[in-house]
């Protein structure tokens, strides 16, 4: 076969493969959105789920997902920021650093179900937190830390060295340079990383089944005292999130409209992830413009 012919054949095969993939992916997205949209309305988004009858919503699950996301971020962001700063600004090239990097890599590749089981063992059983938002937030912190640390480290590494030299030349200590110059300069990239990881946390379920639990007790949305058991802010109550809810009603749900609810909830999840992606782009772009002369 002459090279020209085989070139043409190979390239047409590549076209076929690429278009197949586009069709599969577009069909997937289209299916999620189109089958889910009819189910979504204000009632669906705000009313509590019903176990046995049709017409339940996802209000509590949606609130739980966001609350868990915020708590996880509050716990994991400072740790990841500190770790990222140390790795990029202070760490020397030695065996300790490479051990730490290996550990972070291992953590990022652990199956989330293993992270969830560890959270179950430590927080739910050992520390006696029970199935609670707090246990879930800690489990998600483990799940989130490696990627967030890496994205913060990369954001810091992308700041040009002249900035550090400038800070040191003005007589600032290294720490002051990092806090007052490097971190603000890297902030748009850091925020993009945070928002993208928020999308990942929002959809995680396997790590939450045994930590945040699979039940969503009724909440009293007029009671904002975190120490009351029915308060939405109470971190010690069990909290089924949206992703766990989809899994739960598909494996053991008995309400007649389980399929419609899962379609709607899946669409809400995917639209939220899409929203996080767009927000990440927008925020990164906007802040970058604001912080730089460009």
């Amino acid at each position: 076969m002459n090279p020209k012919l085989s070139n043409r054949i190979a390239i047409s095969i590549l076209y076929v493969i690429a278009s197949t993939i586009v069709v599969i992916l577009a069909a997937l997205l289209g299916f999620i959105i189109i089958s889910g949209l009819p189910a979504i309305n204000w009632h669906f988004l705000t009313s509590p789920a019903r176990a046995f009858t049709a017409g339940g919503g996802i209000g509590i699950q949606l609130f739980n997902s966001f609350y868990l996301l915020i708590l996880t971020m509050i716990i994991s962001f400072p740790i990841a920021l500190g770790a990222g700063i140390y790795l990029n600004e202070y760490a020397k090239q030695n065996w300790v650093t490479s051990l730490v990097r290996t550990a972070i890599e291992i953590l990022s590749s652990l199956p989330s179900v293993v992270v969830g089981l560890f959270g179950f063992l430590i927080f739910v059983v050992q520390f006696g937190f029970g199935f609670s938002i707090l246990s879930g937030a800690f489990a998600l912190t483990f799940f989130n830390l490696p990627l967030l640390t890496r994205s913060i480290e990369e954001a810091l590494a992308a700041v040009p060295n002249e900035q550090r030299e400038g800070g040191l030349a003005l007589g600032l200590s290294k720490w002051e340079t990092v806090i007052h110059i490097i971190v603000p300069a890297a902030l748009p990239t850091i925020l993009t990383g945070v928002i993208l990881s928020a999308g990942r946390i929002f959809g995680e379920a396997a790590a939450l089944i045994f930590t945040a639990g699979q039940s969503a007790p009724a909440l009293n949305f007029t009671d904002w005292n975190p120490f009351n058991i029915s308060s939405p802010l109470n971190p010690m109550r069990p909290a089924e999130t949206l992703a766990v809810h989809i899994w739960k009603i598909n494996s053991e749900g008995i309400m007649p409209d389980a399929k419609a609810i899962s379609s709607g909830a899946s669409a809400v999840l995917v639209i939220s992830v899409l929203g996080f992606n767009l927000l990440a782009r927008f925020v990164g772009h906007r802040l970058f413009k604001r912080f730089t002369a460009g």
């Binding site: 690429a18 992916l25 500190g82 730490v100 179900v113 200590s173 396997a206």
Partner: protein
Amino acid sequence: MNNKLQKQLLKRSKAAKLERWGKTISFLALMLITVTVFAIIIFVASKGLSTFFSNHVNLIDFLTGKNWNPNVTNSKGQPEVGALPMISGSFVVTILSALLATPFAIGTAIFMNEISPHRGAKILQPVIELLVGIPSVVYGFIGLTVVVPAVRSVFGGSGFGILAGTFVLFVMILPTVTSMSVDALRSVPRYYREAALALGATQWQTIYKVVLRAATPGMLTAIVFGMARAFGEALAVQMVIGNAALLPTSLVSPASTLTSVLTTGIGNTVMGSLQNNALWSLALVLLIMSLIFNLVIRLIGRKGAMSK
């Protein structure tokens, strides 16, 4: 006066104190992550090994036994905890989905990077980025409503099984493997392509004989990464595989994986009982496999770095 000056000079300045504080705190944050990783490994290992040390299950029986029924004891007076059905289920879905995903992912990556970079960046890139972020339960739900009925009507049976699991994992790991393969292709220097084209090679010859060879370590890393993800995926697989702890006999009969048994079982057993310990042993197998995948990725990276 002299004394005061001496004191001032010998004392740590405010900035130096702050520096020390900052360095310590950021170091502690880093150590917290490291300690957590070791804690996870130690805790899971100690729980998982207690099946063998305190319940005296034979390790070989555990890995090769075909019957998983921890409530029942067999003729030798040993509980029936043969994990072979789950282990083989996990490996079969992982390998099949990787075999299916590899040609598509690499083909798409070549298309995006070599043949039509403009369309690749405009259409494929954003879609793939979005798909990487789709939660796994959503894939599981789609598998349940679309893939399982399709498998049922085409191949018969209940539709639940390895084949459905493979399709779901295929779509799930495809975006990850594709975007990592694109990175691998992108890191091949431009002058490799220019040199090949200047020698009179066609586009396909350039891709096949030069670019793909140079990008092989990166591509392998992408595939192993996809396999690691498939191996550890829990809910999406659990929803479509049928959850029968039987040795898979065909692609369309219900089966189970390590993760699916863990998600369905751990809530129904009592901490510290043999049934529970046996599940932790499955988690340990999962952990060890994840470490092995990690090691393989490292070895590929090292080999790739050496040949450059």
